[in-house]
Amino acid sequence: MSLLQLEGATIRFGGLVAVNNVSFSVEKGDLFGLIGPNGAGKTTCFNLITGVYKPTSGSIKFRGSELSGTPPNKVAQLGIARTFQNIRLFQSLTVLENVVVAAYLRHRVALPSALLYLPSAIAETERLKAEAMRLLEVLDLDRRAQVRSADLPYGMQRRLEIARAMATKPELLLLDEPAAGMNPQESDDLLLTVRQIRENFAMTVLLIEHDMRFVMNLCEKIVVLDHGIEIAQGPPETIRNHPKVIEAYLGEAV
């Protein structure tokens, strides 16, 4: 059974078919790439998976059970976490607090104990903070834990997005253009980090990326979308030489 399986996933916005009959499946442990030119429907795919949009038709299965129609917070609880293309941190919260928000979905102490400031709530707060701190160490953000997240430099904000998504302890991590706006050095570092995450946390990673070099070096399987339609699927070597992909990226061959 695949970890994530899209079958004929389709969504229409008025007349526009943003994602048209897309099918692919992600196996446990994959480093899976989703690429395509601007407006190809990649982020919309993420939105379908994470429950921001409900597909018009088709099915999305996670560990064999249907996802479509599940609200985003339930999807996160089921074990799918994501980052956002246009960084959406909780800006006035600190770096640590951002991560604790995500870790909070595993809280075990009910709200009244917190309102009464009972020891159980304090202990849990400490536990979640410690957990978040460990993640920050992995992503090399621990020294900035008390900084307001809006005050972080851009590259660190991207890394914080990843740390935050990981704090939900997902089985499947969706990264939306994690290397966007990074210089080659930062991007190489990120590549190592993503590999490390997969090894150390046993996460499956599905990522959208524009940077071809990044995707080709990192991913083992790739799906290419163009105008909402899936045009190719396979390992990097196949994709690199696939005529339709070249056409989509470089325009029609003369």
Binding site: T43, N47, V52, F84
Partner: protein, 394 residues
Amino acid sequence: MDLTHSLLGAVDFGLLPQQVVNGILLGSIYALIALGYTMVYGVLRLINFAHGEVFMLGAYVSLFVAWGLGFGPGPVSPDQTSNWVNLVIMLVASMGVCAAVGMFIEFFAYRPMRNQPRIASLITAIGVSLLLQYAGALFLPNSPPVPIREEVNPYRANVLDVPLKPKSADLLAQTKQAQVALDEAERTLKDTVAAEGIKSEFDLSPEGKKVRDARNAARTKATVTQNAYDQSGLSLRIPYGQLIMFLTSIGLMLILRHVVMNTAPGRAMRAVSLDYDSASLMGVNVGRIITLTFAIGSALAGAGAMMNATFLGTPLTTFFGMQPGVKAFVAAVLGGIGNIPGAVLGGLLMGIAETLVVWVGYGDYKDAIAFVILILVLLFRPGGLLGSAKVEKV
């Protein structure tokens, strides 16, 4: 069936058209005020709470101009007559002063807040609103509430009468018949008085009583049929003043539409409302456009205020702007805030709803109906009637 009866009491639905027309007339004022809210919201994303107070000031300007024209608070001499020029002077003065006040408020209270969180501007707006209400109370006559004298309106006696349904010919015939019968009975009575030598009409003899009863019955029948005939037709009655009010409002709205759609400043206004930052980068002088928006919106409120105070005769206090202000704002949201036709539609609906509620006997709930409608509409169309709810891009 029982339910409607008990809820609506003795409501004569034949009067519905008249009530709807009254509602539209009132609604045109709400629409004028709502335009100010919606335009300011469109460019600044700010609920200009002080707009109702601009409206209030406009009414006072009209009042003072009326005083200046000889319709002062004291007794008015009978030969003092008014004409349309007076009304135009009041309207123009009110619009002009309101435009100035609007620009003044924008410059001193809102402009410094432009880069601040929106809630801070909102609190400033509430502050300006309170300031105008209470500072106004120090200087403006407001206790007891002062109305603008109705003598200033030269058309106060004229009423436009639009027949909707002709009076029943059948009933007319019956009325005539009854009248003839009545005349007959009267004559018989008189004849009897003359012939029989009955002392008077009030003779108590059986003979006299019989004739008299016959006459009385005829008289009752004549009255009943006459009444039935009078009420059989249906006509709309619109005082000239309110008709002028409505037409002026429509005229102003058309002018506004022309300005916004067909002129360079209007285009700039639309650009700012679509995207504030891009508009300023594309060479739109955003500051000037905002000032202009405030000026136009406030002038419309001034026009509404003058007409409300003059033709509807509401007495003025410095809190005069609160209720219409809130209702107009609700109207703007109802139509889809930031949307100009929406504000007009919302204003008219609000006027109709309010009039109908009063008409069916729930006048106590007049001020609540605006909000009830608003909440129902927003629950089903979160962007308002003509607005589109913005879908947030993820």
